[in-house]
């Protein structure tokens, strides 16, 4: 259901354009900045797809993003994060927590979810973004081919 928190052991993916990758091709902090008009970082809940392998999950995500109208380029990458790695990021204010919740966008993107930051303070958001980028699992995944 909408706004349900995702299980900490599950995974999400986030599409990163080439200009959000560092020189080594790794998703950088800017990939996790909030975009204009958005209140969360858009991700896809991989286990929600019901598919058994990571590559098939990511392929389903790619197709959903394209059907939703996004332009997915092969120069970009899908960063995969474990939900618990993101929500466990410690902030100086212990009351502030990062949350990851289901934000389905039917009909094309039912696995859509969001990483919500606890503050709109841009400096804090950018600090959190550096920490989220550190949690990207090794070997960010190239965009699956057609």
């Amino acid at each position: 259901m909408k706004d349900d928190p995702l299980p900490s052991g599950d995974h999400v993916s986030h599409y990163c354009s080439a200009h959000f990758l560092d020189e080594d091709g790794r998703p950088a902090q800017t990939a996790f900045y909030l975009k204009k008009g958005e209140d969360c970082v858009s991700v896809n809940w991989l286990e929600y797809t019901g598919l058994p392998t990571r590559s098939r999950q990511l392929d389903a995500v790619r197709k959903a993003l394209i059907e939703k109208g996004l332009t997915i380029r092969k120069s970009g990458k899908l960063a995969v994060l474990r939900v618990g790695d993101v929500t466990s990021i410690e902030l100086s204010d212990k009351k502030q927590r990062i949350s990851v919740s289901h934000q389905p966008e039917p009909p094309h993107d039912p696995s859509h979810s969001g990483i919500f930051y606890p503050s709109a303070d841009q400096a804090l958001v950018e600090f959190i973004a550096t920490r989220v980028a550190e949690r990207v699992l090794e070997a960010p995944t190239a965009i699956p081919s057609e």
Binding site: S17, A18, H19, F20, D22, E23, A28, Q29, T30, Y33, L34, K35, K36, T71, R73, S75, S92, Q122, A123, L124, E126, F127, T130, E134
Partner: protein, 288 residues
């Protein structure tokens, strides 16, 4: 197949696609009235000047002429200035849409019948270039118009790395900046450029101290520029240049015990970034 670089180099009034493009354009685009009314000429060959400023930042990629022209003229909606082949008079300063037919004939560019396709728009474009003196006491020269175009300013700034902006890593930095701009342009088109003001702030900062290690340079979703020095996940300093003189920073540094992280962030004048890095111990990896 002829490369785009060869194509450019082969034109008498086009400079090589690298290096001195901006200066050459400045030299060529004289603020004079063209000898002929360009709106009366159709299908005349013009040498393309200004797109070479933008195009040369794609020069690190190996594509053939047809692809490059497609990039330069079609999808990017290039603002252009043209020089009449015979008279060397120049005209034009406009953003063309993809609706125009551009062809390459014997290595030259032909703008086919722009009036017929866009009718009144053409007059409007010309008026942009040559505003009605009765409306504007001080007509803006086409070069100035072009120079104020964000992508032209970005291109000019990138060219100035290693010149105005001295750094030991000029070639690497120029290539990285060009790649980022190309990627951005591919996604956003030419109407939404990265911030020249932010880039100016970044370059000014990087050239302010010759001992700086070359950072990882990134673009934010807002088109502003970020420099990041990262030793490992526990040691990082980054500066996000909001404009020419202000920046947000993030400093993460492991304390002596290796158990505690010092984590600080905020917004300051760009000129105080290095002092901030030193304050939080991040200068150990910001400097070579």
């Amino acid at each position: 197949m002829e490369t785009f670089e060869n194509f450019l180099a082969g034109r008498a009034y086009l400079t090589n696609s690298r290096g001195s493009a901006t200066a050459k354009v400045r030299e060529l685009l004289r603020p004079e009235t063209p000898a002929e009314d360009p709106t009366t000429e159709k299908g005349v060959e013009y040498g393309l000047i200004v797109p070479c400023i933008f195009v040369h930042h794609f020069a690190t990629r190996s594509v053939d002429l047809a692809d490059r022209m497609n990039v330069a003229l079609g999808r990017l909606q290039v603002t252009y200035a043209a020089v009449h082949k015979a008279t060397q008079d120049w005209y034009g300063s406009a953003t063309f849409s993809t609706g125009y037919d551009f062809t390459v004939q014997a290595g030259s560019l032909t703008i086919q019948d722009p009036m017929q396709r866009r009718g009144g728009d053409w007059a409007q474009l010309v008026s942009l270039w040559n505003p009605d003196p009765s409306r504007n006491a001080e007509p803006v020269s086409p070069f100035d118009q072009l120079a104020s175009f964000p992508y032209a300013r970005i291109a000019s700034l990138i060219e100035s790395v290693g010149k105005t902006y001295q750094t030991r890593h000029a070639a690497t930095l120029r290539a990285r900046l060009a790649d980022l701009v190309a990627s951005w342009q591919e996604e956003h088109g030419i109407g939404d450029a990265p911030s020249p003001e932010s880039l100016s702030g970044l370059l000014r900062f990087l050239s302010s101290d010759s001992g700086l290690r070359i950072p990882s340079v990134l673009l934010s979703p807002h088109g502003t520029w970020v420099a990041e020095w990262r030793l490992d996940s526990r040691n990082l300093f980054s500066a996000h240049f909001l404009d020419e003189s202000n920046a947000r920073f993030v400093a993460v540094a492991a304390s002596g015990s290796r158990r505690k992280l010092n984590q600080v962030w905020g917004e300051i004048e760009a000129g105080k970034l290095l002092a901030t890095a030193q304050t939080y111990g991040a200068d150990r990896w910001v400097y070579e």
